[in-house]
Amino acid sequence: MSDLEAWRARAAAWCESMVPTFGKSARKGLGVEEDLALGRRYQKAKFDAGFAGINWPKELGGQGLGHLEKIAFEGEEMKHGFPNVYFGISLGMPVPVLMQFGSDRDFVKERVLKALQGEEIWCQLFSEPSGGTDLAGLRTRAETDGNGWKINGQKVWTSWAQYSDYGVIVVRTDPTVPKHKGLTYFWVDMKAPGVTVRPIKLAGGDSHVNEVFFDDVKIGDDHRMSPVGGGFAVAMATLMIERYVATDSAGFGPHLDLFVALAKDLRLNGRPAIEDGRIRQQIARNYAMRAGLDSINVRARLMMEAGMTPGPEGSLNKLVAVRSRQKLSELAIDLQGAGGFHFDEHASQKEDWASSWINAPTGRIAGGSDETLLNTIAERILGLPQDHRPDKGIPFNQIPA
């Protein structure tokens, strides 16, 4: 058994042992606050067992291993539905960026250790009402204030901000230069005076995203994580950190086996649905698509194991898997006819078709919309021209609103 296989086996065994305490049935019926409390205990258990910060440096509390070990663990962890969602963003982007760009190393170490143990949560304050996909169009501003800065403005779609202790934020520090060049990157204390968090209830009923308002929020210059005007590059670095994550060809919706089982259980116009050509075609096409993504993912892993950089085709997973999950979920509801009306907003998106369906649009929008991903493929991989951008090169304060 290779070291990696041994690691995976150890990860699988540990995850298995956590099921009674943190698995789906342990979480059933819990409110968000209770589930978060359980999640914090899970994160602590993970840290104690040596599965937190797997590819982070040992001196900061990580395990000092590679992204292969991280992906292997995540692959096992994903099977059980543990309450880890509250830490996904925190440990995925803001905290790694703090490790990379934070200037006060003692502060960094203390924060990283608390984040790894589930005691503290970080959020990422990027999107704004005026700029999601167009990140550099953001309007929240920071002005010099004595030796520090004063922040005013509004962020939106900030995941888990209501439970966050800290956040990383990109703000405009110079509106007189073209939009990408006037941004600066800071960290902020989410409990500081002037920070107001207001949860947004989403279509599916949950409220994990928030509006965050900044009214004269004062921070020291030691909060700055980029050169003044160099924030966009750090923001891009933040988004690149999560390149190597476990992917899911089911688009984080139900496995195709569940659809096949449904089609075997139900009848359509008096005949078994599994014998209906329309249903069979959808099963076959979805299988072929998912098998292709699985093969791409396996090959990416093999390339990493061989010390190579995986090909750009790995970027297809989110685009292809989530939108097909959306359609398959619609079909699964339709297939059940009047028996498909039941809705439980706490049901798992990986097991329940209605939950998968109602939440699917979020997956197609958050973290790069389908359209943005298509642009990225077209421009970065295929060398097609950028869209026409009328605001290019124009000082931010002269762009027509």
Partner: protein, 364 residues
């Protein structure tokens, strides 16, 4: 489990691409459309000379003992350049049938010629829309074959065929020497496929395998061929995606390259996705030969490759506008090939059913 190509396999891809791009071009392929029974001699001569015909056959009979992965790489390149003859796949199918189910004598008689490419083979399993008929319309009795097999790819040029027939009411695979057999040319939209209806009237034929096992054997041969064809389709789709991209960055309208319009660039990005999914499924399927899930993997490759080639043919022509539908530019060569390859080795309906039977646990 998928695989990464090793250095030798990558060299096969590079070298076959170089040779084919130098020797096959659309100006030689276009006239073949208007001639019945003509194929691109240069392509087939190249396949023989380069040893592609021998690639995946046993060494004992002149083969190179490589596998589906390597043949797939060649087929991918052949698809890119619109191979001028269908025999790479059909010879492989016939040779595999003889190698897997034939007697020593049958192997000695047929395999060396099939491996060198001097002998051309054809597979005749289908009855019209039925890729693998449970009750084939050809009968084997007392070593004689009777009945018609319609729409046989390569049938106009083949020397030998493997025919799905029935013997005593059960399926059987028969090996038939085609010399002297009546062939009715099918005037097709893709004429270099050399399609013919074959009429057997008590033709001498040898049994390869009989009974239910013959049906499974036929499915296995079809799946092997389908994986080769899927590589060819993926190659064609990849070429079209690149042609569309190249056109979109050079052709200008309203003061900018048309590739700057999202209606164009997104279409090409979608093609990229289809091509990569097909490629990934092809690599996986080729690597699964001999494993329990081979048929499932072959079906997935077949479905995604057909979808990719069809979409690429449609969209590449569309992106070109008027010039795309001209005879001279030759994009219709790919349109035609996408269609013929979508039908050969069983259409989408066939493979969807094969796949779902397995996923639903209904397979025999």
């Amino acid at each position: 489990m998928s695989i990464l190509y090793d250095e030798e396999q990558q060299a096969i891809a590079t070298e076959s691409r170089r040779v084919l791009e130098a020797r096959v071009n659309k100006d030689e392929l276009l006239p073949l459309l208007e001639a019945t029974g003509a194929y691109h001699q240069g392509f087939w001569a190249t396949a023989k000379e380069q040893g592609w015909t021998a690639l995946a056959l046993p060494e004992a009979h002149g083969g190179l003992a490589l596998g589906l992965v390597e043949l797939g790489l060649i087929a991918h390149q052949a698809g890119r350049t619109l191979s001028g003859a269908p025999f790479l796949t059909s010879n492989f199918g016939v040779a595999k049938a003889v190698a897997l189910y034939g007697s020593d004598a049958q192997q000695t008689r047929w395999l060396p010629g099939l491996a060198s490419g001097e002998t051309i083979g054809a597979i005749a399993f289908s009855d019209g829309a039925d890729a693998l008929p449970a009750h084939p319309g050809a009968t084997l009795a007392g070593g004689r074959l009777s009945g018609t097999r319609g729409g046989v790819t390569g049938g106009l040029a083949a020397d030998v065929a493997v025919v799905l027939a029935q013997e005593n009411g059960a399926p059987a695979l028969a090996l038939v020497d085609l010399s002297g057999i009546e062939r009715i040319p099918v005037q097709s939209f893709d004429n270099s496929r050399c399609i013919a209806d074959l009429r057997f009237d008590g033709a001498p034929a040898e049994l390869l395998i009989a009974g239910e096992a013959a049906y499974e054997a036929a499915l296995h041969i079809l799946a092997l061929q389908a994986v080769v064809t899927a590589h060819e389709q993926t190659g064609g789709a990849e070429a079209l995606m690149e042609i569309a991209r190249d056109y979109a960055v050079t052709r200008k309208a309203f003061g900018q390259p048309i590739g700057a319009f999202q209606s164009i660039k997104h279409r090409i990005a979608e093609l990229y996705g289809l091509v990569e999914l097909a490629r990934a499924n092809c690599i996986h399927a080729a690597a699964r030969e001999g494993q329990d899930d081979f048929i499932t993997a072959a079906a997935a490759a077949r479905l995604s490759a057909t979808e990719a080639y069809d979409a690429a043919a449609r969209d590449c022509v569309q992106i070109h506008g008027g010039i795309g539908v001209t005879w001279e530019i030759g994009l219709h060569l790919h349109m035609r090939r996408a269609r013929s390859l979508a039908v050969e080795q069983g259409n989408l309906f066939f493979w969807e059913d094969v796949l779902v039977d397995r996923l639903a646990g209904e397979a025999a």
